[in-house]
Amino acid sequence: MGTAPARVVLTGGLSRRYTGNVQEFAVEAKDLRGVIKALDRLYPGLGEHLEEETTVAIDGEIHEVGYYQPIRPGSEVFFIPKLEGG
C-alpha cells in the first residue's frame, strides 16, 4: 500500500498467553478489523481473544474494541486488558 504500517503492541500478559511472547507487530490496515484479521492470520484464534478480552488504545485514545475504529498510517495500537470500574 506504500503507507507506514501501524505499530501494534500486545500488553498485560497477552503476548505471554497467545503469541509466544512476541509483543510487537507492524500491520497495514485501515481499520481495527484489518488489524485483528492480520493478527489472527499469524496466530489463529488470537482475533477472538482480542475481541473478547481487550480494550484498545489507538494513538493513546482508549476505546472498546470495535471493527469500525479507523487506523491511520503509523498509528500506535495497544491491546490492553479490558477495564471496568465500580
Binding site: 498485560g12 478480552e53 482508549i62 486488558p81 477495564l83 471496568e84 465500580g86
Partner: protein, 762 residues
C-alpha cells in the same frame, strides 16, 4: 447537523453547567420512591437464605425434608437445583467471569468458603415460618482450617480453598496448587538502570484492611415466574441487563425469557454490579409458582456480599535530587475473597499512572481466602495502590525538602506520557489539579501544634462502552428520555440536561426515565464512571436523530426541501430567506402536527463509546491528632478533580464529596474484625464505623474543567478517582502532625496512639 452543538463556550450553554432540581428528588424525599425491597405482589412469599456459620467447611450433607414439610413452606432450594456450570474464564481478564465459581458463590456446593456463604433457601408465607424452616434444615459440616490474611494465604502451608488451583501467569506453571490465583506484571524501561541513577530511594511496605462499600440500602429483589417459563425480576442493581444475563445463565434460561426491572437504588459504589439474591428468588418462584421476595439484612450484607480487597504492598521509588522520578517498583498482593478475581490488575495499572516515570514495574497477586468474594468498590484497586505510592512520594518530598505538590507537578503525566501498561496518555488534566491546589489560599494557611497537612493524588481510567437511549416526543411537545442506566448519582438529571441542551428546549420539558430490559436496548452497568460519558453520547445521538426528524416534518409543513430547514434554539427555521418567509416552528407545534406529517416522533440510539479520558484528582487535608487518645480529626479537606465539563455541577461536587468521605472512613476507621474461627465480629454500622456528618468538615470540591473532545459536551467520568487520594493524604498529614509514618489502614486511634508512644519511647 453536528454543528447544532457549540464546540466552545462562544455560544453559552443554556442548561449544561446549571443546577436544576433532580427529576427523581421529590419521590425520594417524600418516601414514595420504590427501592428493591418495596415491590409487592399478590400471593408473594418471603424468601430466606441459610448461611454458613463456618469460615471453611466441607458439606457432608444437607437435609431439607423437615423444612419442606413445615406448613406454610412453599419451596426449598439448594445448589442441587441449579445446573452445574463449565469451569472456564469468560470475558476480559480483569473481570473474567467463571460461572463455575459464580454458581458456587450464590449457593455453596461441596464446601462453604466463608462465614455467611449461602447453602439453602426457603420460600414461605411469612418471615416467621421461613425462619423456622431454616432452623429445620440439617447440615452436616466437616469444619476445615481457614485463612483470611493475604500473606498468610500465600504461604506454602496455608489451608487451600481449592485443591486444584494452579497459579495463572507464571512460566512454567507451578506443579502444586496454592491460594494464589494469578500473578501479573506490567513493566516499562530498565528498572535496574533507573534505580542506579537515583539519588534518593525509598522502599516501604503497607497493609490495607478490606472495607465494604457500605451502601445504605441492602440488596433486595422480587421475582415471579409464569407457567410458560417467562420470568420477571425487580431488583436494586447497578445494571439490570447484567442481572438478566447472569441470572439467565445460572438458571439455564434464555436471556429473552427474563425481564428485569430496575428499582431505585440506595447506594452501590460497585457492590451491586454482581448478583447474590436474584437467581435464588427466581428459583424459589419457579419451584413454588408464587412471586418471592428476598431482602438481605445488614448482617447478611457484611457477611455475604463483596467488599473490596485487603492488601499487602511494597513500593520502591527512586528520584534525582531535583525531584525527577527515575524508577518505581511495586508489588501488590490482594485478597480476592473466596473465589479468584480481585482488582489487583487495576491497582498495578493505576499505581504509577499519574507520573511520567521512564522505568517502572508493577507486579500483582490475586489470592483467595476465606472471606466473601470481593466486588468492585469505587475505582476498584486504584485507591489501595495509591495509598502506598502516594505515601512513599511524601517521604521522598520530605527527604528532598520539596513541597509535595511541586514534587508531583514536576513528575505529572501529561498527554504523550507513556503509561506503565503500554500506551501513551492522550489527555491532560492532572497538572491542572495540582496547580489549582498550589493556588488555593488554604494551602498556605498556618497550622497549630499537633496539626499537619497532607497531599496526595489519584488516577482512574474512567470508562465508555455500550449504552442505549430512546427519545419520544409526546403529543404536547414534552420529551421522554429512556436509558438503560440505573441512576445512582443523579444521572437522570444529567441526561435531561444534555437532551434539553441539544434539542434547545427547557429542562422541565424533558422527563428522563430508567427503562427495563425489554423497553430499551442493551446498556452496560452504571460503573466505571461511564454513564454521563457513554449513555450521554447515546442520548445526544438520539436527540440529533429527533432533530433531523423534526426538520423533515417542518419541511413537510412548509412544503419545502428538508435541506431548507435548520434547527436553532428549539425551533425549526428556514435555512435562508431563499427558502421562504416562514414563522419558526417550535417542537410543540411540530408535535401537534405529527399525525399529518407521518405519525409519532422519536428515535433510538446505541453506542459503544470510545475516546474515554481518564480522571485525575489531587487533594490536601489538614488533620489534628489528639496525643492523648490517638484520635485524628479532619479539619479541612480540599479536593480538586479534572471533570472534563460538569454537566450538573451539584452532582459532580456530590460525587467528589462522597468519594472523599468514603476515603476518610477507609483511612481512619473501617475494617472487618474476625474472631479466631474466622467469624465476623462487627457486621453492623455500630461496630463497622463509617464517617457520619459530625465527623467531617465541609469538603471543598474544586472542579477543574479540561473538556474531553470525544464527548459532545466535554464530559469525563467523575465518580471514582476522588476516593484514590484520601488515605495517603491523611497518612501524610498525620506524619507531618506528629512525626510518625503510619503504613497500615485503618489509622484508628489505637494504632496512632501506639505510634506516638513509640516515638516518645524512642
Amino acid at each position: 447537523m453536528d454543528d447544532i452543538i457549540p464546540k466552545d463556550r462562544a455560544k453559552p450553554f443554556k442548561w449544561v453547567g446549571t443546577r436544576p432540581v433532580r427529576p427523581d428528588g421529590v419521590p425520594k424525599v417524600t418516601g414514595l420512591a420504590l427501592y428493591g425491597a418495596d415491590f409487592a405482589m399478590p400471593g408473594m412469599l418471603v424468601g430466606r437464605i441459610l448461611r454458613s456459620p463456618h469460615a471453611h467447611a466441607r458439606i457432608r450433607s444437607i437435609d431439607t425434608s423437615k423444612a419442606a414439610a413445615l406448613p406454610g413452606v412453599k419451596a426449598v432450594t439448594t445448589s442441587a437445583d441449579f445446573p452445574e456450570q463449565k469451569f472456564e474464564y469468560v470475558g476480559p481478564e480483569r473481570v473474567a467471569v467463571n460461572f463455575w465459581h459464580v454458581t458456587r458463590n450464590i449457593m455453596a456446593r461441596d464446601k462453604v468458603l466463608y462465614e455467611g456463604h449461602a447453602l439453602a433457601a426457603v420460600a414461605a408465607t411469612s418471615k416467621a415460618v421461613a425462619d423456622e424452616a431454616l432452623s429445620l434444615i440439617e447440615v452436616d459440616y466437616e469444619v476445615l482450617p481457614h485463612v483470611i490474611d493475604v500473606e498468610a494465604a500465600m504461604r506454602p502451608d496455608a489451608p487451600l480453598l481449592f485443591p486444584d488451583l494452579i497459579t495463572r501467569g507464571v512460566d512454567p506453571a507451578p506443579t502444586k496448587p496454592s491460594n494464589i490465583s494469578k500473578r501479573l506484571e506490567f513493566k516499562i524501561g530498565d528498572l535496574e538502570a533507573g534505580f542506579a541513577a537515583a539519588d534518593e530511594i525509598v522502599e516501604m511496605s503497607f497493609k490495607t484492611a478490606p472495607v465494604h462499600q457500605a451502601y445504605i440500602e441492602p440488596q433486595a429483589c422480587a421475582a415471579r415466574f409464569d407457567a410458560d417459563g417467562q420470568g420477571e425480576i425487580w431488583s436494586s442493581s447497578q445494571g439490570h441487563f447484567v442481572v438478566r444475563a447472569l441470572t439467565a445463565q445460572l438458571l439455564g434460561m434464555k436471556v429473552g425469557d427474563l425481564r428485569v426491572y430496575p428499582a431505585e437504588i440506595g447506594g452501590a459504589f460497585g457492590g451491586k454490579t454482581v448478583i447474590y439474591l436474584e437467581p435464588v428468588a427466581a428459583m424459589l418462584a419457579r419451584k413454588s409458582g408464587h412471586p418471592v421476595k428476598i431482602v438481605m439484612s445488614r448482617e447478611d450484607v457484611f457477611r455475604a456480599s463483596g467488599p473490596t480487597s485487603g492488601s499487602a504492598m511494597t513500593v520502591k521509588i527512586g528520584v534525582k535530587r531535583d525531584g525527577k522520578i527515575v524508577a518505581a517498583d511495586g508489588v501488590f498482593k490482594f485478597q480476592a475473597g473466596a473465589f479468584p478475581g480481585s482488582p489487583v490488575m487495576n491497582a498495578c495499572m493505576c499505581a504509577f499512572a499519574p507520573y511520567d516515570i521512564p522505568n517502572a514495574r508493577s507486579v500483582g497477586y490475586d489470592v483467595v481466602c476465606n472471606r466473601p468474594k470481593v466486588a468492585a468498590y469505587r475505582a476498584p484497586g486504584s485507591p489501595i495502590s495509591a495509598f502506598a505510592v502516594e505515601s512513599v512520594l511524601d517521604v521522598l518530598a520530605q527527604r528532598l525538602g520539596m513541597d509535595p505538590l511541586q514534587l508531583r507537578l514536576k513528575n505529572a503525566a501529561r498527554a504523550g506520557t507513556q503509561m506503565v501498561y503500554g500506551p501513551k496518555l492522550s489527555h491532560n488534566g492532572y497538572a491542572e489539579t495540582i496547580e489549582a491546589l498550589l493556588d488555593h489560599p488554604a494551602y498556605k494557611a498556618p497550622l497549630k501544634k499537633n496539626q499537619g497537612r497532607g497531599v496526595a493524588s489519584g488516577y482512574w481510567f474512567n470508562a465508555g462502552g455500550e449504552s442505549s437511549a430512546t427519545l419520544h416526543v409526546n403529543e404536547d411537545g414534552t420529551v421522554v428520555v429512556a436509558t438503560g442506566s440505573p441512576d445512582i448519582g443523579g444521572s437522570r438529571a444529567s441526561m435531561a440536561i444534555m437532551a434539553a441542551e441539544t434539542l434547545g428546549i427547557d429542562y422541565d420539558q424533558v422527563r428522563p426515565i430508567v427503562a427495563d430490559t425489554a423497553s430499551v436496548g442493551y446498556t452496560h452497568v452504571t460503573g466505571g464512571s461511564r454513564v454521563t460519558f457513554a449513555t450521554g453520547i447515546a442520548v445526544v445521538d438520539a436527540a440529533k436523530k429527533v432533530i433531523r426528524e423534526l426538520c423533515a416534518r417542518a419541511a413537510m409543513i412548509w412544503d419545502v426541501d428538508v435541506e431548507g430547514v435548520v434547527w436553532e434554539d428549539g425551533y425549526a427555521k428556514p435555512a435562508s430567506s431563499n427558502v421562504g418567509d416562514f414563522k419558526p416552528l417550535s417542537l410543540k407545534e411540530i408535535a401537534a402536527k405529527r399525525a399529518l406529517t407521518g405519525g409519532p416522533i422519536g428515535a433510538a440510539a446505541a453506542v459503544n463509546a470510545g475516546g474515554v479520558a481518564p480522571g485525575f484528582a489531587t487533594q490536601f487535608c489538614d488533620v489534628e491528632v489528639d496525643p492523648e487518645t490517638g484520635k485524628v480529626t479532619v479539619l479541612r479537606f480540599v479536593a480538586a478533580q479534572d471533570v472534563g465539563r460538569a454537566i450538573h455541577p451539584s452532582y459532580v461536587e456530590g460525587q467528589i464529596q462522597g468519594g472523599v468521605v468514603q476515603g476518610i472512613g477507609w483511612a481512619l476507621n473501617e475494617e472487618y474484625i474476625y474472631d479466631s474461627r474466622g467469624r465476623l465480629e462487627n457486621p453492623g454500622f455500630l461496630d463497622y464505623r463509617i464517617p457520619v456528618a459530625s465527623d467531617l468538615p465541609m469538603i471543598e470540591a474544586v472542579l477543574i474543567e479540561v473538556p474531553n473532545p470525544n464527548h459532545p459536551y466535554g464530559a469525563k467520568g467523575v465518580a471514582e478517582v476522588n476516593i484514590c487520594p484520601p488515605m495517603a493524604a491523611i497518612a501524610n498529614a498525620i506524619d507531618r502532625a506528629v512525626g510518625r509514618r503510619l503504613t497500615e489502614l485503618p489509622m484508628s486511634p489505637p494504632k496512632v496512639l501506639a505510634a506516638i508512644d513509640a516515638r516518645e519511647q524512642a
